[in-house]
Each structure stands twice: as C-alpha cells, then as structure tokens.
Symmetry: C2
Subunit: 70 residues, 2 copies
C-alpha cells in the first residue's frame, strides 16, 4: 500500500472510531492536547503522524493503538 492510501485509510478509521464514540473532532483534539487543525489533517489523511501522536489519540479514545490501524 502506498503512503497516501495508507494515511487516507488510517484517517478514515480514526474518524469512524471517533464518531462511533460520539466525540467531536475538537473535543478529541483537546483531550489529546492537540491543535484541532492537526486532528483535522490526520483524519483527512493529509499527514503522516508519529506513533506517539497515535498513542495519544488511542489513549483519549480509550482504545489500543492497533484499533486505529484496522
């Protein structure tokens, strides 16, 4: 899988999971101590986040990182 596809898929997955937990993007960003614009970028697949960033997202949603990678 190329990078663009991979990141788009990841972003979509994060978004779906967030929505399934009924959390807004802004709320999640705040919970992760993130800029909301960065959360928007990640969910859109427009950036290649670091693993620690994903760890923070997973923590904030109370899931394991691998759930973000499905």
């Amino acid at each position: 899988m190329d990078k663009d596809d991979f990141l788009k898929h990841l972003g979509h997955n994060i978004k779906t999971l967030r929505e399934s937990k009924g959390i807004s993007q802004q709320k999640l960003a705040a919970d992760c101590n993130f800029e909301k614009s960065n959360m928007s970028r990640i969910e859109a697949g427009n950036t290649n986040p670091t693993i620690y960033t994903l760890y923070k997202i997973a923590l904030a949603m109370d899931v394991e990182i691998h759930e973000l990678l499905k």
Copy 2:
C-alpha cells in the same frame, strides 16, 4: 506512559522481534529502504517514528504493525 518510556519500549520490541527473525539491523534497514543509522535510532528509542515508517518495518518483517507495539 511518557514519551521517552513509550519510545524506548517500542524500540526494544522492534529489536527483539528482528532478532527473533534472525535479521541484522542493517539488513532490515535495507529492506525498508532506510538509512541504517535511522534504524539504530528507532531501536534505541531515540526517535519518534512516523506511522508509515513503522508500517514499512512491519512489512519488511512480515508482521502486522501491532506486533511492533506489544
């Protein structure tokens, strides 16, 4: 878990897995199309790799990313 601990743990895990597959750090780096110095940095937990970097490592070792995160 703070960032330093997280990355050290990840690095150790990657190293352990690589060794269990009998691959040298240099070989794995080459398989990932990486600089070997970067592989050394990652395994030492001295850098916070991007998710796509980890994807490449997982691919090269024929495992899922989450195996790297145990």
